[in-house]
């Protein structure tokens, strides 16, 4: 069973196939509270990925269930979301693990013998 405790221990990986979407959503929310449509637009702009509506809300539901984000009250029909402290920690761990293999990949590319 997925719990808040093991979600911190395995940064976002416990979300299975929603981990990628979750990382994008949390990265977007790191820049400020946003509602669903704003999230789609922001992610499209900084990552070049267009999240489909159902995919977005399935990821939002899981993130909210795990306590990584929280829904804010709103006067209109659009409900903004905010990243929680737990979410920020999980995002930081996730990005750190990704940065490591990015650095390894880039380094190996530099060391690769040139092909004439």
């Amino acid at each position: 069973m997925v719990t808040k405790e093991n979600s911190n221990a395995e940064p976002l990986a416990s979300l299975g196939r929603y981990a990628g979407s979750a990382t994008l959503i949390l990265s977007s929310l790191a820049g400020g509270d946003k509602h669903g449509y704003a999230l789609i637009k922001d992610i499209d702009q900084f990552a070049g990925v267009h999240l489909a509506p159902a995919t977005l809300y399935e990821a939002l539901a899981r993130l909210e269930q795990q306590g990584l984000i929280e829904a804010l009250a709103s006067d209109d029909r659009r409900r903004p979301y905010r990243m929680t402290g737990v979410g920020a920690t999980a995002l930081e761990a996730q990005l750190a693990s990704q940065q490591k293999f990015i650095e390894v990949g880039l380094q190996r590319l530099k060391q690769r013998p040139a092909i004439s």
Partner: protein, 335 residues
């Protein structure tokens, strides 16, 4: 511009209806207004439509307790393997059952060369409709029924017990009514046939015996009730393939979706029903053996449609659900 917004709002409102009520109460409003913006930006997107429909269906499955949690790939593989084994048992009985439908007036036959072309079409339509009916009923409803049964046993709620009995009776009556409807169509198109008339519930036990006997007595002729007629084997084979195809679809669906904590808890309680399920199987087999003397009084298999096949399929799938649940529960307890 105003008309465009209104159209987008209407389309968004319709799209949200794919989702279950509980989901709509929480997310419906914000999802609808987001969809409205998306539709205004990009009026036509088949990918978006497919994504919304698929998301709605997945949520509907989740709200009946079949998904909602993330299992490790190992547990998912284990559950899938168990289901595959149990499905094999299920299909074995299904093969015998479906081959029994070939007796008499060839009621179910995909590639049936006998009779007129209209009968071939009717065969195909009736076969697939029947398979879909049983598949939907068993996959979507049986786990809920078992949970309710367990709850009723604990709370001793008579009302709940009565409502729970409605489901298996409804499945059996629907199947029986379906077959009678099929008989009525054939009688109308091809004239009355006494072999199509007798489809009563009393055939159940004897049909079960016929299936057990044919499977045990003719294991090499599994696809045909009459080995001397080769074409019947091929038409039975096509039905086997149809059953397997549907079973693979069911197994793939369960293999892809995740079992929710609620489902895991339910499956734990299902272990309490294991003796009941095994008892049902034993009673069926014993009853079938007791029915053997029926043949001495002139009751032949040719006059029967295997209504018992419905019963066998229900029991076999209950066993499959139980086995899958045990495997999943064991895995969850170990984590």
């Amino acid at each position: 511009m105003k008309d465009t917004i209104t159209t987008a709002a209407k389309r968004a409102h319709r799209a949200v209806r794919w989702y279950p009520r509980q989901w709509r109460e929480r997310y419906g409003d914000e999802f609808e207004v987001m969809l409205e913006s998306e539709i205004s930006d990009t009026p036509h997107s088949p990918a978006r439509a497919a994504n919304v429909i698929w998301g709605g269906l997945r949520n509907r499955i989740a709200y009946v307790g079949l998904t909602g949690n993330v299992l490790t790939p190992q547990r998912r593989s284990a559950s899938f393997s168990v289901l595959a084994i149990c499905s094999t048992i299920f299909f074995t009985f299904g093969v015998v059952s479906w081959s029994k439908f070939q007796l008499g007036d060839y009621r179910f036959g995909w590639a049936n060369w006998y009779g007129s072309s209209s009968e071939g079409v009717i065969n195909a339509i009736m076969s697939w409709a029947f398979v879909c009916l049983i598949s939907i009923a068993l996959l979507a409803v049986v786990p809920l029924w078992l949970r309710g049964l367990n709850q009723a046993l604990h709370t001793k709620s008579r009302g709940l017990m009565v409502r729970l009995c409605i489901l298996p009776l409804s499945i059996d009556l629907l199947a029986w009514g379906f077959l009678r409807f099929d008989a009525a169509i054939r009688n109308f198109l091809q004239g009355p046939n006494p072999y199509r008339a007798n489809l009563g519930p009393p055939d159940l036990v004897y049909d079960a015996y016929i299936q057990v006997r044919s499977f045990v007595g003719h294991p090499s002729q599994l696809f045909s009730a009459r080995p001397d007629i080769a074409i019947e084997m091929w038409s039975g084979l096509v039905e086997v393939l149809a059953v397997i195809l549907i079973g693979v679809g069911v197994a793939a669906l369960i293999g892809r979706v995740d079992l929710s904590p609620r489902m895991i808890a339910f499956e734990r309680r299902l272990t309490q029903l294991s003796l009941v399920i095994m008892g049902l199987i034993c009673v069926t087999i014993v009853a079938a053996l007791v029915a053997m003397p029926a043949q001495l009084v002139g009751i032949y298999a040719d006059q029967r449609l295997a209504q018992g096949s419905v019963f066998f399929m229900v029991v076999a799938l209950l066993l499959s659900t139980y086995a899958v649940g045990r495997s999943t529960t064991r895995g969850a307890a170990q984590r």
